[in-house]
Symmetry: C3
């Protein structure tokens, strides 16, 4: 496991939330909050990262996350380059590292990497020069740390606490990096009533979500929940045979108004997007008063600004 921290305790890489301390996560959230503005106000801008160069390496299509990182970096004054290189370690072996060394030699300070293959961001982080940072923009099914941070920030904005909350994560947990990073964030931040709910085929190994209660009935997981986090069906990570039929899935697992009524009256509804409306979530719930889905997007830029500001602050002279 690549060490994510510098010797002074500051963040160098962000590959997973799993090894961050609670206070470190809290510090990142506090900093992110300073970058949040209401919709309709101009976002904050600064020159804090002027002179720094951020490379976005996205090998999976991801308009949302790619643009979110791009805007976070630009609004802090950094220079951003977009690359469409394939970093897959299978496909290219050492040539993956040649690409990374090339970017480093171009004075790139931070590499944002999204890859469908497990271990690529960590492998890159293990090889870059000491002044270079690697940020995961989503790693296979295992980790999506900035998503975990933005989810935590969204909950905190609405609930002003983590302790005592009941959080239900619902859907395709097995294939979801969003679920894993949310689990890490919420556990660390003190959520003790953490529930995962999925059909058996989409339920993860028990050890991965230690301490969570497991539910194979949606209604059971929703009862009295403060936070309902719906996941996207990850069609692209499933075998054909495992793929639930849309309508049948919705009948058993779709979040409807009726089901949402089982949660607390002030429960919030989250979704990492893109949504399969009518499959995992009903449209009137997605667009309803309890939905904080658009807040999640807005918070995503703020969280990425906070992360970039921390990893690049101690940058080169």
């Amino acid at each position: 496991m690549t060490e994510q921290l510098r010797t002074d305790g500051s963040l160098r890489h962000l590959l997973t939330l799993e090894t961050l301390t609670r206070s470190h996560i809290e510090r990142l959230l506090e900093r992110a909050q300073t970058f949040v503005r209401p919709l309709g106000q101009r976002p904050p801008r600064s020159r804090a990262l002027e002179g720094a160069t951020v490379a976005n390496l996205f090998t999976e299509p991801s308009t949302r996350t790619r643009v979110s990182f791009e805007l976070a970096a630009k609004r802090l004054g950094a220079t951003v380059v977009q690359l469409e290189v394939q970093l897959s370690s299978r496909a290219k072996g050492e040539s993956m590292l040649d690409t990374v060394y090339t970017l480093q030699a171009l004075h790139v300070d931070a590499l944002v990497i999204r890859d469908a293959e497990v271990g690529v961001p960590g492998l890159v982080a293990a090889h870059v020069a000491p002044h270079v940072s690697v940020l995961s923009g989503g790693e296979a099914h295992v980790s999506h740390p900035t998503q975990g941070l933005l989810d935590a920030l969204t909950v905190y904005q609405r609930k002003q606490r983590f302790a005592g909350l009941a959080v239900a994560i619902v859907g395709d947990i097995r294939h979801s990096r969003v679920a894993r990073s949310a689990f890490h964030a919420f556990s660390k931040l003190g959520v003790t009533d953490l529930r995962i709910a999925a059909p058996t085929a989409l339920m993860p190994e028990r050890a991965e979500f230690a301490g969570c209660t497991r539910h194979t009935q949606l209604e059971e997981a929703l009862g009295g929940a403060d936070v309902v986090m719906m996941l996207r069906i990850q069609r692209e990570r499933m075998n054909e045979a495992d793929l639930p039929q849309g309508e049948r899935y919705f009948a058993a697992w779709g979040l409807t108004r009726e089901r949402l009524a089982l949660a607390r009256g002030d429960a919030i509804v989250m979704h990492p997007q893109p949504m399969n409306r009518g499959i995992e979530i009903a449209s009137d719930v997605a667009d309803g008063p309890q939905s904080v889905i658009r807040d999640q997007v807005r918070n995503g830029v703020a969280v990425r600004m906070a992360v970039l500001a921390e990893v690049l602050a101690a940058g080169p002279a």
Copy 2:
């Protein structure tokens, strides 16, 4: 129809010229003219839109218009992001709006949308938050408002008036958003002798170009014209059977020097590009002394700067 204006009368969206007043169009042209510089001088730059974010959403390939909007925004200090999302309402239904809401939550202030499907820019405009603007970068065959403005500006630069001009629009009128926006601009600005000339198969419905004279012989339309606007054969919007053969089309409809001689001696020749040389226009005419085709390109950036400056001026605090 989505309202394009704010309550103070300023432009919020630009989807069509059809509902703008003459004085509004004139104001935009005057402002655009302040951004025009001769070739070989550096274009004007300002920080007027610093802090604003413009997203370019082009679903049809369009190097020219995309780069023109990109440079217009950057030269006013805005941040620009490029997206390759599909906004088609057919393909994705509500997920189109999810993409738009996401961009909005990323604090995007203006969406420039080019789409092959009728109604997409208007649909988006009808759903975005009050502080967000939608600019059409070309909508199916129906509208290309910044093209209409740049065409009007180009004519005005050479003729210093619209009243009393004879303007001939020639070619594939039926499939042309350029022709429609030019028709709207020129009609509003006081051109009374407006002629459309096309083979019968490429002639539009009469109601769409009310007040224009209709010509199925090119020579007839050119007689005494001050402005000859040639259109591109829109191969991609035609059935195979409707597609004119290049040589046969040129024989009847290509603008040659001989035919141009039928127009006034100081007539100007326009084309929105890309040109099919030897099909709708002879190369020596395209590159000849009466051609203002490159002026059109230069004016395109100026017009887009004027539009962005107006829609984003009243921007968020």
Copy 3:
């Protein structure tokens, strides 16, 4: 041949090093050296080119060179646009020039062009307006002038001289624009012992590398060399029948530690990348103490900054 210089002797276009004087090349290298910073320091930034617009037109995929030019331009304050137009003269004829005239009318000041076809950068340079510059980012097999400059700068940094050096260029010389530009640079700069080594099928015409010794045995070329420049096997420019088998090629032509020992003890190893490790070069050599491959990448940005600064300095008012 398009004239590359302005009447005051300054660089206007950069298409080839072949017609530059030694002192001009030296001046570019000196200027480039001022932009070099050690890895881990922030690269220099200035506003020297603020207001200038650079268009990157890359029709062959080239992450490395494209990003290198992009960062060079941005770090000098220029605005950069990326285009994916096809400039091939075969495919489009005059429409290639229409694209160029369009970019010119958009107030683009420099076009960086990479094309697989011989003559395209020169053809464009012959047609642009007097204030517009054309920079080759790699032209077929014939020229890659900024690569030649960065190679020369890399040698000079390590050897502090060119006179008296023995330089061996090894591999697929026939298809290599890198070899041709290196040959031009090194010859002009005073390298007299210049060796080209290739299997017969990959050996170029004698006239193209006049004054070089020719070697069909690698060992012969390496003896006492100060600089060993390995080339990439250009699979994409070979007929299937000419393509050497990887293992067999490595056996005869791969640079191993054993073979490198034939060169001087302080010989440096260069490669333009991307490397086919295990085909033209052994991994332990590529990553070994004599390798300056990453310096080449870093120097690439510096050289492109120097070139952009010179061609755009005398820019529009």
